[in-house]
Amino acid sequence: MSTRRSRSRQSGSARITDDQINELVSKLQQLLPEMHNRRSDKRSAAKVLQETCNYIRSLHREVDDLSERLSELLANTDTTQAALIRSLLTQ
């Protein structure tokens, strides 16, 4: 049992195979809006990571923007929350 544990720990941290990394990188690549269409062409991992960072930043900006607009809207409207929740959950 102890050998199994130590082996799994090794594979978890130190012995990461290139295959594992390639698989994870290609999974990430498929999530990127600009890259998932070109699945056939093999991008370098560094390029995928770069695009991933850009995408996360753009999503953060989108949430910033939505928060901004929601706070402005909240200031102007008096809303019935119960109806809103109900309508969203039944969508």
Binding site: I16, I21, T52, I56, V63, T79, Q81
Partner: protein, 166 residues
């Protein structure tokens, strides 16, 4: 709402948080709307944006729960901040907090030598809790985090549309 993920009709039974299912989406919506409801009552208009932004982040982490490293990192941060406020308020004792913060900053360094991307550090700064992760962990957490951010954007857009139309 679930129609946006046609590729994942079923969630994996062993790991339900692999993809942000409609369950997480709904959980996020409920938590976020609850936070907005509270905000309506007692938050001054000048603090509204910050409160909503923080609520979006906290609601998402809470919807995912402690099963993911990135959501754990956010939840831990919130808890530390609450504790911080509490201690400041009570006794102005900063020492415990500063020590904890510096200890958590840099976890284990990079495990592999062959993947020393400059972009990796960039990514660690963007994914919550990314500083302490191994490289493979960082990649899989990033994938999940991106899916959740998308779900977050979608739900918030729905809410905004609803508000605007009503």
């Amino acid at each position: 709402m679930t129609t946006t993920h046609p590729k994942n009709p079923t969630t994996h039974p062993k790991n339900p948080t692999t993809n942000p299912s409609s369950v997480i989406r709904t959980r996020f919506a409920v938590r976020f709307l609850h936070a907005m409801k509270k905000l309506n009552k007692k938050t001054p208009p000048s603090r509204r944006y910050h409160t909503i932004r923080a609520a979006a982040c906290a609601s998402m982490a809470s919807a995912v729960g402690p099963r993911r490293a990135w959501s754990r990192a956010i939840l831990r941060k919130i808890r530390a901040r609450t504790l911080h406020d509490h201690l400041i308020h009570k006794s102005r004792n900063h020492r415990l907090i500063t020590r904890r913060k510096s200890a958590g900053l840099r976890g284990n360094p990079r495990d592999q030598e062959e993947v020393g991307f400059r972009q990796e550090d960039d990514l660690r700064g963007l994914v919550p809790g990314g500083e302490g992760m191994g490289f493979c962990r960082l990649l899989s957490e990033t994938a999940h985090y991106i899916k959740c951010l998308r779900a977050q954007v979608q739900v918030m857009t729905n809410i905004l549309d609803h508000y605007s139309s009503s």
